[in-house]
């Protein structure tokens, strides 16, 4: 295989990854009418539960309780940013319309490890984390293509 041809393949794979990531973002989904409530405890530098896993289309109600200082609750890509002062229950309603893993981040300076106070908001499709499965597929596919390319190009 000529090296310019395989570098094109390399390039297409990159483009594919981008397109796929774009798709997983902006496809809307029907909203299910079964809101379930999840209780989230916020304390210095952690969320409990650290991972909130829902299915695409679910509407969830999150009840946030801070047990020490004021923390924030921000979800990457979901345009959610609320503050949870101690002693208050903050309720937010989220419709999970984008698939993938989105980091929950603390948006209020709450102590030395504040920038590392993160959690996961994982939106699956029928209980499958599609982007992760696809990424593993990409790694395998990409590995094989690279191998073929390198095998063609190495003088032994």
């Amino acid at each position: 295989m000529s090296s310019s041809k395989s570098s094109k393949i390399f390039f297409y794979i990159l483009i594919l990854t981008l397109v796929f990531s774009g798709l997983s973002f902006y496809t809307n989904y029907a909203v299910a009418s079964n809101p379930k409530t999840i209780y989230v405890e916020l304390s210095q530098f952690k969320y409990n539960p650290g991972r909130i896993i829902v299915n695409k289309g679910d509407t969830v109600i999150l009840e946030l309780r801070s047990t020490d200082v004021t923390h924030g609750f921000y979800i990457d890509g979901y345009n959610i940013n609320v503050e949870a002062p101690p002693g208050e229950v903050v309720t937010i309603r989220i419709t999970a319309d984008m698939v993938g893993k989105f980091k929950i981040r603390c948006s209020v300076t709450c102590g030395p490890l504040h920038p590392f106070m993160v959690g996961d908001f994982l939106v699956e499709e029928n209980n499958v984390n599609t982007p992760f499965i696809v990424s593993i597929g990409l790694i395998l596919l990409f590995g094989i293509i690279t191998l073929i390319k390198v095998m063609g190009g190495v003088e032994i």
Binding site: S3, S4, S7, F10, I13, L14, T17, L18, S21, F25, S43, Q44, F45, K46, Y47, N48, G50, R51, D68, V69, Y74, D76, G77, Y78, M98, G100, K101, F102, K103, I104, R105, S107, T109, G111, P112, L113, H114, P115, F116, V118, G119, D120, N129, P131, F132, S135, I136, L138, I139, L140, F142, G143, T146, L147, V150, M151, V154, I156
Partner: protein, 480 residues
């Protein structure tokens, strides 16, 4: 533009080199005696200011310029730009060893002709002429990295400590023994710079062989000679070239060039490989995973384990020592034992498949270099959100470096607002794929060096599996 495209292509695909020193003004700049002084001094002032800020400023990490500049801006620039594109370019401008060097030379800029340099000028002990001290030093820093990157005062103490240690060591031992054998940062910069797209080499080796006076080592009227104990005439790897350009100044035949080249070439060079460097690879690969899990993972208990000295809100009481020992076990065990053991098994299977005459140990050491691109890319992927999410903290602290409520440039109140944070996992995946690409490429070429022609693929397959599993582990951390 078309020209540039062709340039880049020929560099990456056809093993070509472009000598940057042929650009006249670049050469004029680097052979000027004041060059290194002129880049180091401003940098020294900046770091001096950062250390000061850590001591007198706010104890809140993201409100103190020492944390935002060192662990957000500098770290990102180092791992994502300087190391991959400019090799040890950081070492060119690093202020840490500069007091020692000035004292040794009794001068900042000019070439002095004293018979003896200041200090004892001892030879570095042979036992430590490897990077084990750097491995241990880096792991030690990593053991309290959560503290280091969140407490301004700890950052200042460590930076200040490095200034002191380097200066003291350089008064005892000759030249840049500190940089080459001790500096905990230098170890991984050296390892990763072998992947870098720049290299300093000689044009004609025969000329160097015939040349008896060897000014590049011994120095001349205008040059001190290599302070990194390298001989350019037989240098094949970037690992220990500090890019100080003393050899360019020294060479009477203008025989040194600075090449732009494709990525990862030095990883195929068998000369100079050793177990110390192999372990450095495992340390870097393992720690990338540990850092992603601790600092960007959802596992709060893991953060608690690592944050041993935490006494709310900014104190240092020792709490949860039992759990901290678990954390230490993870950091040291994973990088010194578990990952190397898994790789050793991989090497053994490679030997079995290929029926190679090389020992398992040779295969283990030789192939460990294939993991360098993946480890570097994992680190870059880890560092991407630091800037993309927390860029506002950097701007805030430019206006209010000490966290005292100033607003010098009007950027104090820019609110925390990550840029396209939803894209981060996919950016990380793309970076990981680039690492995978170069790791497989390097690994296969190594296999072609080590194994017989007809069993190259068979011998390489176990390595491929290891690379794919390592990549998938990172993909799981980023997307799973």
């Amino acid at each position: 533009m078309k020209n540039l495209n062709r340039w880049v292509k020929s560099l990456i695909l056809h093993n070509e080199y472009i000598d940057i020193l042929r650009v006249k003004w670049v050469k004029r700049v680097v052979i000027h005696r004041a060059f290194q002084w002129a880049v180091i001094v401003p940098n020294l002032f900046v770091f001096w200011f950062l250390i000061t800020a850590g001591f007198v400023g706010s104890p809140v990490g993201n409100m103190n310029i020492s944390i935002t500049f060192v662990w957000m801006l500098w770290w990102f620039a180092l791992i994502a730009i300087l190391v991959p594109f400019l090799a040890r370019g950081w070492c060119t401008i690093c202020p840490l060893p500069i007091f020692g060097e000035w004292l040794q030379r009794k001068s900042m800029i000019k070439k002095t002709n004293y018979q003896k340099p200041l200090g004892l000028n001892l030879n570095w002990p042979g036992r430590f002429r490897n990077i084990w001290l750097q491995n241990i030093g880096f792991l030690s820093l990593a053991s309290f990295s959560v503290l280091l990157v969140s407490r301004p005062i700890v950052t200042s103490l460590v930076l200040g400590g490095l200034f002191i240690i380097s200066t003291v060591l350089m008064l005892f031992y000759s030249k840049r023994a500190f940089c080459r054998y001790v500096c905990p940062v230098g170890g991984f910069i050296g390892l990763f710079s072998m992947f870098s797209s720049i290299e300093l080499r000689v044009k004609d080796r025969q000329l160097c062989k015939k040349h008896i006076t060897k000014e590049c080592i011994r120095g001349s009227d205008i040059s001190y000679g290599c302070p990194w104990f390298e001989y350019p005439g037989n240098m094949d790897r970037n690992a220990y070239c500090g890019l100080c350009f003393e050899c360019v100044k020294a060479c009477p035949f203008d025989n040194i060039r600075l090449n732009a080249r494709g990525f990862g070439r030095d990883l195929l060079v068998s000369k100079g490989k050793g177990l110390d460097e192999a372990w450095k690879v495992f340390i870097m690969l393992s720690l990338a995973g540990v850092y992603v899990a601790v600092m960007q993972g959802p596992w709060g208990w893991l953060r608690d384990w690592a944050n041993v000295f935490y006494s709310p809100p900014y104190g240092f009481a020792l709490t949860g020592l039992n759990n901290y020992i678990f954390y230490l076990a993870i950091v040291w065990g994973l990088s010194l034992a578990i990952v190397p053991a898994l790789f050793y098994v991989t090497a053994a299977i490679s030997k079995y498949f290929s029926e190679s005459k090389h020992s398992v140990k040779d295969i283990f050491t030789g192939f460990s270099y294939e993991l360098v691109p993946l480890a570097l890319m994992a680190w870059i992927a880890f560092s991407i959100p630091i800037i993309q999410v927390n860029w506002s903290y950097i701007l805030n602290t430019i206006s209010d470096p000490f966290g005292w409520g100033w607003n010098l440039l009007g950027t104090k109140n820019i609110s925390w607002n990550p840029i396209f944070p939803g894209l981060i996992p996919y950016e990380q995946l793309i970076i990981l794929l680039i690492g995978l690409y170069y790791s497989i490429k390097t690994g296969y070429k190594l296999a072609a060096q080590y194994f017989d022609r007809n069993v190259v693929l068979r011998g390489f397959l176990p390595q491929l599996v290891f690379i794919v599993i390592a990549s998938s582990t990172f993909a799981w951390l980023f997307l799973g």
